[in-house]
């Protein structure tokens, strides 16, 4: 049971308050970017390359310009005149806005058609004639490293290969020694496929440049409006668009999941065109464009090893990663961490030796590497450690639950320093796994499995006991393009005791309008119902780095609590003045200051706020407002234990997820209903790559499943009925003890499912299968093993 300190009327932390934002969404009054219509607005559509690698010989726009309604066709050569044909990526690499001579991946933007209507723009796209000289692309990252492979980034002077960067952490020598001496060493090659966030709303914008006032309003699907404003100023400052002249508005967003963090060429072209023609320009991607060209996620080729004793004690791990970044390093990761937070891969276990290395490679694929519902490569890391832990349990013939229990970091060992350098804040891993086992009925399931195995039936049980790392982050380590990753909250309480609060983050469905109000309600006792939350407008919200990587609660949520506490301190002073007692004589309970021992002598927060405007003490600043920029002292480390039970048809290899129990620990819970909703959603995004989703490219660099017809986003039929629960281990350093939850399920679910499937097939000699695991993959693996 979650304890609430406030009444239901106040609805502070712990209440399953119904969401404030829902009223508009259920009545068709959401306001998404494609709903914006401005006077004189033009529409933009994009000509894309059918080839993965080709020289552009010629672009003929003549016919397109004759299409009724078409007003302009923009090519790379046009942008080159303003030095806008290239742009920086978030990783300080460069990426084309529009090409002047070469296309680097299929579906790359080649030209933009501007017209008076959506249909005319699409007609214009059809009529643009592009002459290509097709070249043989480099599709496989391992082949890209071949000295004979063509060098893709010829735009970079002196670049002689397709290697982007090398990264390593840990103790190489010590790891080698431990591995050499260890009784048991297991090793698997694992591939985490290239996938896509596939939020149901695609990306888009309306760029509205006002020539008279030299002012740009940019409505866009962005998870980080302030950072975007700064980036636009950095890119377009030289044409007179400086930061005070730019307003970025992020309206309602139809799902982000990290895919709406990067700056895509379409946004930049729309701004350039609006700047040149002085009219608003709308660009909305089609789904297929979104899948084929926008930033992908994952695409990690990993070699994972674990060393241990015969009786199941983990001694060391080693990880080697080859990361396919496409033709530009456009991943979203904090500057210092080229592999993001992959170094969480040592997992939930108590051992002190690890070594990790990674190399990033250019290929002829779309650029990216977004943190898809994941703190920067944590999904890959957790898959690696949770899969290899099961592999090790199989090798030493130990139950995977028992092996985990034996190796978990104990709750009294926190704060715990990981061999890769992180300080885990708090945890109780034993409790979470025990709870998951109790709920699922682990012992009974193992017995059932043993019975079924005798009959040749395929049933599997898979565990994943993950440790997450979220809340980027402490400014000493975390920045994006130099901007420190703090976040902010500003609270203004009106004379009548109702408030508006603004944040540097941006909800894309997480329910911030409700949860932030609850945090403030908890601290100030003003009913959450009376606290209006606003985000996404850079003209009004305080500066922040946006919402992704489960950072909103750890950063902006903390900022809200601290700003509210500043106000409570002020309230105490005013109450003391009004009640004519000293501050120390006052006691606080949600919404009221009263005199110790004399509860009828009291002032409500509403009375106090009114006094702040009407009768404040001499010498005190009038009004009731506070702002806080929160720079976290550490990251937070949510964790959980998931157990998946699968039945596999022994003839068709159809996989049925029978049960899936998820126990999450995200510290103190703000709104249990919303936390549960986040977990449900993340679990479905976890089963997706585990069983269904993967982009497939042929050797010519053609994407073979770049539409919703053949990229299988799970429907309600593929998605099991999730069983979720929690344990609560507060974060010791976070002002409200919360940790962040959005990405735990996406990160934790795939290995639980993969482990269950491999467990079912283990009697047939299967030790590992790459996700997504499909009936065909199982059939193929068994065929190769000679089992069928």
């Amino acid at each position: 049971m979650i304890q609430c300190k406030t009444s239901k009327e106040i609805s502070g932390m712990g209440h399953s308050m119904k969401r404030k934002e829902d009223a508009r969404f259920i009545q068709g009054k959401g306001h998404y970017v494609d709903d914006i219509k401005l006077d004189g607005m033009l529409y933009m559509d994009i000509v894309r390359s059918p080839y993965a690698y080709a020289k552009i010989k010629n672009i003929n726009i003549e016919k397109a310009m004759k299409v009724p309604g078409v007003v302009a066709v923009v090519t790379g050569k046009d942008l080159e005149k303003y030095n806008l044909h290239w742009m920086p990526t978030l990783m300080s690499d460069t990426q084309m806005v529009l090409p002047t001579d070469t296309v680097m991946y299929q579906a790359q933007e080649v030209a933009a058609v501007i017209a008076t209507s959506r249909y005319a723009a699409a007609d214009g796209v059809e009529a643009v004639e592009v002459d290509y000289d097709v070249m043989k692309p480099v599709v496989d990252p391992f082949k890209a490293l071949d000295p004979k492979a063509p060098v893709l980034r010829t735009d970079k002077p002196g670049k002689k290969d397709n290697h982007i960067w090398h990264w390593e952490v840990g103790d190489k020598k010590k790891t080698e020694e431990v591995f050499k001496k260890a009784d048991v060493v297991v090793k698997e090659k694992m591939y985490i496929p290239r996938i896509h966030v596939a939020s149901i709303e695609t990306c888009g914008c309306v760029a509205d440049y006002d020539k008279v006032n030299n002012h740009l309003t940019m409505y866009m699907t962005t998870q980080a409006p302030h950072a975007i404003r700064t980036v636009i100023a950095l890119v377009a400052g030289h044409v007179g668009l400086t930061e005070e002249k730019i307003r970025v508005i992020s309206p309602d967003i139809g799902g982000g999941f990290g895919g709406k963090v990067p700056v895509y060429p379409g946004y930049v072209i729309a701004i350039a065109v609006s700047f040149l023609v002085g009219k608003p320009v709308k660009w909305i991607e089609d789904r297929s464009e979104n899948l084929q060209a926008d930033s992908f996620a994952r695409d990690y080729h990993m070699e994972v090893e674990m060393a241990g004793t015969k009786d199941g004690k983990i001694l060391a791990t080693r990880f080697k990663v080859v990361a396919d970044h496409g033709y530009a390093d456009a991943q979203a990761a904090p500057s210092k961490f080229p592999t993001g937070l992959f170094s969480i891969a040592t997992g939930s276990y108590d051992y002190d030796t690890t070594y990790m290395e990674a190399d990033a490679i250019y290929t002829n694929k779309p650029p990216g590497g977004v943190a898809y519902r994941c703190s920067f490569r944590v999904t890959e890391a957790v898959h690696a450690i949770e899969r290899i832990t099961d592999r090790y349990a199989l090798e030493v013939k130990m139950d995977p639950a028992e092996l985990r229990m034996k190796n978990f970091i104990k709750k009294e060992q926190f704060p715990w320093k990981s061999p890769a350098g992180w300080t885990y804040d708090s945890g109780d891993y034993h409790q979470a796994l025990k709870k998951a086992m109790d709920v699922v009925g682990y012992e009974a399931l193992r017995k059932e499995q043993a019975e079924k195995r005798k009959k040749g039936e395929l049933m599997g049980i898979g565990i994943s006991s993950f440790t997450e790392i979220v809340g980027a982050g402490p400014s000493r380590d975390f920045d994006i393009l130099g901007i420190k990753m703090f976040d902010s909250a500003e609270i203004r309480v009106h004379p009548t005791g109702k408030a508006i609060a603004r944040f540097g983050t941006k909800s894309q469905g997480q329910g911030h309008e409700t949860t932030y109000a609850q945090i403030i309600a908890e601290e100030l006792g003003i009913p959450a119902e009376n606290i209006q939350v606003e985000e996404g407008d850079t003209d009004t919200a305080p500066y922040g780095l946006g919402t992704y990587a489960s950072r909103s609660t750890p950063t902006a949520g903390a900022a809200a609590a601290i700003a509210a506490r500043k106000l409570r301190d002020k309230a105490r002073k005013i109450a003391a003045y009004l009640l004519e007692v000293s501050e120390e004589d006052l006691e606080w309970e949600p919404g009221v200051f009263f005199v110790k021992g004399v509860p009828e002598k009291k002032k409500t927060i509403q009375e106090i706020v009114f006094a702040a405007y009407t009768n404040h003490p001499q010498g005190m600043e009038a009004g009731f407002e506070a702002t806080h920029y929160y720079d976290p002292p550490n990251l937070t480390f949510p964790f959980g234990s998931y157990i998946c039970v699968v039945d596999i048809d022994k003839e068709t290899y159809e996989i049925k997820v029978r049960r899936f129990v998820a126990i999450d620990d995200c510290g103190n819970i703000i709104n249990p209903m919303i936390v549960q909703g986040q977990v449900h959603g993340g679990l479905t995004q976890g089963i997706a790559p585990a069983m269904y989703e993967e982009f497939i490219y042929d050797e010519d660099g053609n994407i073979l499943n770049g539409t919703f017809m053949d990229y299988l986003v799970p429907t309600a039929v593929e998605s099991p009925s999730w069983e979720t629960g929690h344990t609560i281990t507060p974060s010791p350093h976070h002002p409200i003890g919360a940790k962040g939850v959005g990405e735990s399920p996406t990160v934790g679910a795939p290995p639980a499912i993969a482990n269950a499937i491999v467990d079912a097939l283990a009697p047939l000699g299967i030790t590992h299968l790459d996700i997504p695991i499909t009936p065909y993959k199982i059939w193929k693996a068994l065929k190769e093993k000679g089992k069928i």
């Binding site: 508009r24 219509k37 149901i200 986003v713």
Partner: protein, 167 residues
Amino acid sequence: MEKQITVTINGEAKTLNVEPRLLLVHLIRENLNMTGTHIGCDTSSCGACTVLMDGKAVKSCTVLAVQADGKSVTTVEGLATGNNLHPIQEAFKENHALHCGFCTPGMMMRAVELLDKNNNPTEEEIRWGISGNLCRCTGYNNIVRAIQYAGAKMRGDKLPSTDPVFV
């Protein structure tokens, strides 16, 4: 060559001249400025654009506006009666069946048709029934629950609890 059509939208008859190739979803969103109906794909896969045409749920990105000539179309904007929410709207809010809200209008329109035909569907019938509508946010658990809740409301049964259930 434009063609004149008359479509009844949410009870109001509208006569307009449209291009024969205009999609119903664009007629609704662009010509009639009702933006509650969304577009999530270009392959008739996601269902974000679902509306009712003569009571039948259709993907309005896959229907031409001219095919709606003489027909009656209901969108999310037409669900509530005055200030009274439709049971499905109440159910989605009470059961936290939406996160970003983008799939929600289409999902609700499909659910309305489902419940019109059978106001007491099993979980399996609901899951198959909404399998033409994608939601990337919710994991569907609460959508299923919301549709059950709306069914109970439409049947006049006692309403199930909307508290989250934890294991």
